[in-house]
Symmetry: C2
Subunit: 385 residues, 2 copies
């Protein structure tokens, strides 16, 4: 929320800011497209584009060439339809119970995943003739036709007759782990079921981010990455080829000198072992900086790593800046919570989770700055890629 300073120069009063590099997202899309060419790259923009803001991210991806978009909820699809009137929008969570009419009304394609759902879709006013996709489960046991349901459809294909299917898909449980044999088994199961259901000539998709970086036999007709677009490492244990997209910064509110033996924060879980300087910033677990980062997370003051000490509070956290140059550790200085020296994946490892959860938890209080998609590559968020 910019406030005009007395001199008239606008300044940003926010105590923390999130910088999102749309050029990096567009570049990641192009990298994926060249990686899987000539296979199409659909894009996952569910969960508000993994927390980065669908309203800004989806148009940037569209400009970069994306034409097939994946969301989870009906309401996300409706919001995306208003942004992009012409693209294909698939709703991965299928038909929300009782909401079947709304999908066709907003030209959204539900991903049908059970016989009950197919029946509900067929019972709509359009008789199931609006575009739909079909999911077959191959090992997630989450959404999609079960083995038992596939058998029933093979025996009696009637529930599929008259459906206007535009895609058949499945989902890998361990797509990010190249060493895991389950992915090959899922691919074989998916191929077999497509054949048995006589859907082998229908447009097909199996791979998300991880699968996009596996062999081309995982790509089929369409890959549908999310995480890789937003800078997360697509494969475990391998170098990350994606550009970083996010930089999260907070201003130091206060630097405090404390003696040796002082306790810090709720529950007094940290005790200083030397005379220390502590910096407090306006970011806490209400901003998605997880409480599990208490006494475990790190931030960076310039290139200097500084540890979180004590428990993360709702609106604040405290860093031990004793080892940072005093010139850097001052009231008003920007600290990188996520940045060129500390990626989303790094922070996730400290929190005991995955980068996906860090991104989707990014809070609403940050001032959000978007670096334009047509800006120079390697903008502020990716300065040290």
């Amino acid at each position: 929320m910019p406030i005009a300073e007395p001199g008239g120069r606008p300044t940003d009063t926010a105590a923390a800011r999130l910088i999102i590099d749309l050029a990096a997202i567009a570049g990641n899309f192009r990298l994926l497209a060249s990686r899987v060419s000539p296979v199409e790259v659909g894009v996952a923009v569910k969960a508000d584009a993994y927390g980065l803001g669908m309203a800004r991210v989806a148009p940037a991806l569209h400009t970069a060439g994306a034409r097939t978009f994946f969301v989870a909820w009906l309401e996300e699809g409706m919001a995306l339809r208003r942004l992009l009137p012409e693209v294909e929008i698939l709703c991965l969570n299928g038909v929300a119970p009782g909401a079947a009419e709304a999908y066709a009304q907003h030209r959204l394609t539900p991903v049908l995943g059970s016989l009950e759902e197919i029946a509900e879709w067929r019972a709509t006013s359009h008789g199931g003739g609006a575009p739909a996709a079909l999911q077959i489960d191959s090992g997630m046991a989450r959404l999609g036709l079960s083995a038992e349901e596939v058998d029933r459809l093979v025996a009696d294909r009637k529930p599929l007759d008259g459906l206007n299917l535009t895609l058949v898909m499945s989902h890998l449980a361990c797509g990010d782990d190249p060493k895991e044999p389950m992915s090959a088994a899922q691919r074989a199961s998916f191929e077999r079921d497509r054949g048995r259901l006589r859907l082998d000539r229908l447009r097909s998709s199996l791979a998300a981010s991880g699968g996009s970086f596996r062999g081309s036999d995982f790509h089929i007709d369409l890959v549908r990455p999310g995480a890789a677009l937003y800078g997360l490492a697509p494969l475990m244990g391998e170098a990350n080829p994606m550009a970083q997209v996010v930089r999260l910064q907070a201003k130091i509110l206060q630097v405090r000198r404390v003696d040796r033996g002082m306790t810090v924060g709720y529950g007094a879980t940290h005790r200083t072992t030397r005379p220390s300087r502590l910096a407090t910033i306006s970011t806490g677990y209400a901003d998605g900086y997880f409480r599990s980062l208490s006494n475990r997370g790190h931030a960076c003051l310039g290139p200097v790593r500084v540890p979180v000490v004590g428990r993360v509070s709702m609106d604040l956290l405290t860093l031990d800046v004793t080892d940072a140059p005093a010139g850097l550790a001052q009231r008003g200085a920007w600290v990188d919570l996520i940045g060129p020296h500390h990626t989303v994946d790094d922070l996730a490892a400290e929190a005991g989770t995955i980068g996906y959860e860090i991104l989707t938890a990014l809070g609403r209080r940050y001032a959000r700055h978007y670096l334009p998609a047509d800006g120079p590559p390697g903008g502020e968020a990716g300065a040290a890629r």
Copy 2:
């Protein structure tokens, strides 16, 4: 987002909904007020009223009698000022660096916490004469005057001269733990520093939710609960006297029968030990249902507890409903993720965190329903208080 059904009856298409009982919040405020009477109850509505929606919660608290409101960020104070033109609004995170002018402009009271901040406040166009509060650290080492700064002010009180102080406060590190001796030490330290700074006749506040349920020597002139208003237990190891405020429900998308020995979800971390029925719902970590609840969380189908199996995904999770009556475990049935049989604190314990973090992480995709503050007590959210 309600969609009109063909027959004209509006229905709710959302696959998950959050019910927030404003009457329970108002009741909790009145319980606190009677608990500490005649001491005033200020209310913490920071972090969007602990995730429950400041725009609805703050006016309900105002109607119930609250006149002193606490937020963290400047921007939260500005939003609250638009909602409630006349109340006192204190910004706990102090003066955001470089933003001092904005507080007086919006009639917000910053809680000053360091000599630097006091100097920045004095240097504004109003010369520091607009209302401000002062925080003294008594053991959090987070915000507030340090021991060293108090000593300097005792030696030279000039930086306080001319300040229009309306409150002096400190904050307990272990206020929720009646067995912890640190609270009494903090209280003594706060009293001593107020005396040394000749602020002992100024309105004073030390207690948040926990302290409100301690002895009256913790209450002083003003308590400032947040958590207790929103139904969280104020004291560790004691029965929770507060009414439950939140009910979180999701519709079953699909019930799947699976054989013994099937794996579930990402990373195949769960394997069924018997023929099972699994229910998938549209809630995941992007909705604030933490990934740490993977294979640990529970939900309720009516009164029947059902465990989360496999990893929580971004937009989905899977429950083992084998032991629930088939009549309850059906597509379209509502599951309680938080409800009368499974409180916020219960879910927090399963996630290895505190109820505060569960509340502030509540996602944006849920359809939010507010039960009116003037409705009957014990509404839907608190049916089994």
